[in-house]
């Protein structure tokens, strides 16, 4: 058993034709796992995420977009105009050398470039080709236009965020794009295992809406068949019975949840009222009358209000009760637990200065997965890929640029 720094995918070659979130996040996972990922960006502006932000001091700069920097760690970056015939020739050469191609470019554009997955596969039988889209390549909605909120509306998440009585809400910040990218990465790894045995590549299709329907909301689908779960969450659901509810404390909120009887008993011991645990009035916790539920809250409200999140969290960790703080993103970045796990890494890059990036949520003992280098500048690796690998001279590189091929 030995630890190596090269990552489980150090031998893998990936080409990414992607922008914004889903395909770049998928490729980032592979890159952080050690794969060589060549990110192909269309000139002149490259990945739209470069213009998205957030930016330091809110000053836009294509090399300083937080979204781009986070999603494109560990990758090599080149510019390539795939609309040009020469550009397509070059892409073919890159794909010839690659094991995996991942893309979230619209299918209509890919077809125009003769890069529809099935035609590409005929030419490259070992290739694993993963395509990510909001709604997928089949079905009545395949030509629908959809942004994040639209896939989520179909997929069911929109009915779960927010509460009844007013508009359903999205999952913000491109959450769905990350989910689709995560699914694509796992699907690619599965096909790599097949490739290792059968020597055959495959086409992978990931639709964001599918991921919502089958996994993110699908697990609860049986609850509807059993006649439970209201479709919309009622306002102030379970706010009264000290069960899956938020309690205010001195400097914020704690989430109170203790489904098991043993946890219930330990809770009342911690708050100094052990007799309540045995009080028959509160025994049937799932069916408490309103006044009883409200009484329970009043019994503990002062205890919570007198203490901070940190104090309360410490007490209930010790007591093994699932009562945890409502953390802001600031709390998360500054968290001592995450500092211990070195989940956030500080990276210095010329253009952006020192920045702290989130890492991956697991530690692998033999093949660690982590950022290997910062995100590439636009066209940063043009010389390396075009000249050193593909054999173009520096002069030819200049001509390619003038002809708007790169």
């Amino acid at each position: 058993m030995h630890a190596s720094n090269s990552g489980p995918l150090h031998w893998l070659k990936v080409v990414e034709l992607g922008s914004m979130v889903s395909a770049p996040f998928c490729a980032k996972i592979l890159a952080d796992a050690g794969a060589e990922v060549i990110k192909v960006e269309e000139p002149p502006g490259g990945d739209a995420a470069r213009g998205y932000g957030p930016f330091p001091s809110d000053i836009p700069h294509p090399e300083r977009s937080g979204l781009f920097l986070y999603l494109n760690t560990s990758k090599l970056g080149i510019t390539l105009n795939v609309d040009s015939a020469t550009g397509r020739e070059i892409l073919d050469k890159l794909v010839t050398e690659a094991d995996v191609l991942v893309s979230n470019v619209e299918m209509s554009r890919l077809e125009g470039w003769r890069l529809a997955p099935t035609s590409l596969r005929d030419r490259f039988p070992r290739l694993i080709y993963a395509h990510i889209s909001p709604l997928g390549g089949s079905g009545p909605y395949k030509d629908y236009k959809a942004y994040q909120i639209n896939s989520e509306a179909l997929g069911g998440v929109v009915e779960q965020v927010g509460h009844s009585g007013r508009e359903p809400l999205q999952m913000p910040f491109h959450y769905g794009g990350y989910e689709a990218g995560l699914a694509a990465a796992s699907a690619i790894l599965t096909t790599l295992l097949v490739l290792g045995i059968e020597g055959k590549g495959q086409v992978i299709e990931i639709a964001e809406a599918d991921v919502w329907v089958t996994l993110q909301t699908g697990i609860q689908f049986l609850d509807y068949q059993a006649g439970g779960l209201p479709t919309r969450v009622p306002r102030k659901a379970e706010q009264t019975a000290l069960s899956r509810t938020y309690m205010r404390c001195k400097d914020g909120y704690m989430l109170v949840s203790m489904p098991q009887l043993a946890q219930w008993r330990r809770f009342w011991a911690v708050v100094g009222q052990p007799e309540v645990a045995d009080n028959p009035r509160y025994q049937d916790r799932n069916k408490l009358p309103q006044e009883a539920a409200q009484e329970l809250r009043s019994l503990v409200e002062p205890w919570f209000m007198a203490r901070t999140k940190e104090e309360i969290f410490y007490l209930f960790r010790e007591a093994r009760v699932p009562i945890t703080p409502l953390m802001t993103v600031a709390d998360v970045v500054d968290s001592p637990q995450e500092r211990h796990r070195t989940f956030f890494t500080e990276v210095h890059r010329e253009d952006s200065g020192p920045l702290t990036y989130p890492g991956v949520p697991f530690a692998m003992s033999e093949t660690p997965v982590h950022m290997r280098q910062p995100a590439p500048l636009l066209g940063e690796h043009n010389a390396e890929i075009y000249c050193r690998r593909l054999g173009y001279s520096i002069q030819e590189l200049a001509t390619l640029r003038q002809c708007r091929v790169i």
């Binding site: 058993m1 031998w11 979130v21 996972i29 957030p54 930016f55 089949s138 079905g139 009545p140 909605y141 942004y147 639209n150 509306a153 998440v157 929109v158 009915e159 965020v161 508009e167 999205q170 913000p172 910040f173 959450y175 990465a185 796992s186 699907a187 790894l189 599965t190 096909t191 290792g196 045995i197 990931i206 639709a207 599918d210 991921v211 329907v213 996994l215 909301t217 697990i219 059993a226 919309r232 969450v233 509810t245 949840s257 098991q260 209930f316 945890t324 409502l326 953390m327 993103v329 970045v333 211990h340 796990r341 702290t356 990036y357 991956v360 697991f362 530690a363 692998m364 003992s365 033999e366």
Partner: protein
Amino acid sequence: MEFQKETTVLGRLPLEYIRVLDFGTAVAGTVPGMLLADMGAQVIKVESRNRLDMLRYDSLVLRRERAKVREDLLDMRTHVHAVNRNKMGITLALNTPQGQEIVSELIKISDVVIDNFGPGVSQKLGIDYPALCKIRPDIIALSITVQGYSGPWKDTRGYAGNMAGLSGLATLLGYPDESEPQSNFGITCDLNAGESGALAVLLALVHRQRTGHGQFIDLSAVESTIWLLGEPLMDYVMNKRVAGRQGNHDPVLAPHGTYPCQGEDKWVSIAVDTEAEWHHFCQATGNQQWALDDRFLDKYSRLKHRAELDPLIAQWTRGHTSRQVTELLQRAGVAATPVLDPAERYQDAHFKERGLFVRLEHPKSGPEILCGNPWRLSATPPQIRFPAPNVGQHNEVVFMEILGVPSERFQDLIEKGVI
């Protein structure tokens, strides 16, 4: 264009040569095994009779009227069925010498061991990574905990709602004009942990295929959600700005949101990006005057005047069903989709055609509809093959057929309460 199935579908499942010992419980702990099982792995769910998976008590009962005896209810729970499909189920008491002996025999023939016991527990049970390695040096072990195997907060107990709070996600959800935290506890955080766990196991399997080496994976459920929150984290890192509830706001799309339609609690989602989309939107809805309105002339103005634009749109959408709005706007090249409830999703032609729902027959609760797996592989697609196991349903198959335990020993283990 449709993705065509490979002409030579391998007719096999990609992970059919992998065996997984799945000690996971609840949702976060069981989803990695579920995803691997969907892809063909032989996943054995191990439960102790004294401490069954809490989902067997906690979730709703399917078709209660079909229960013949009280114990049947343990096998008829919704969440158990959802996350344990494609798995075999055995019972085993690990806190006995015979239990320890037989679990070693199981480990020897398994490739992957998954648990979400909490730090220290697997060590007490004699199945932590060092112990596993002694039995099978190339074992891959995944341990899922709320916050990680070590650290000042390693003893955190929590479920999906706690994870939403601990990851920062909960502070980002909800209506900006409401002051109380949103008390909505979907299971997204559980799924993120499960999906990240499956990803990590797959990485380890790929590495093992090439090198023959296994390894230990320490996964934090909370971090499995944190890593999906790139923008607000980077905004805090760069600008010390703490993002709050976002509502339906989008920084670059306007209009953007959900709008009320005809019927009880029916909504449509609409998102507009370019000026061309905006003009088509105004045209298609018969509201050409909006395109000439000073307040809505370009995206910046539309963002600024959202509070005035949204009610106007709602006024229009209220006169139509969500399907009508969707078809009208999509024909005009504008992004709109109906907000679907579970029944509507099931009946929707798009999801039907994509085969996302699978009908299975469970031996106790009867017919049920499960959601499938979204990893569409052309040659070796996932399959939902059989329903979740009843308690100890596969004891004979696993111990006698797979492990080869002779029937006298098997009976003895049952009598002693080990199985």
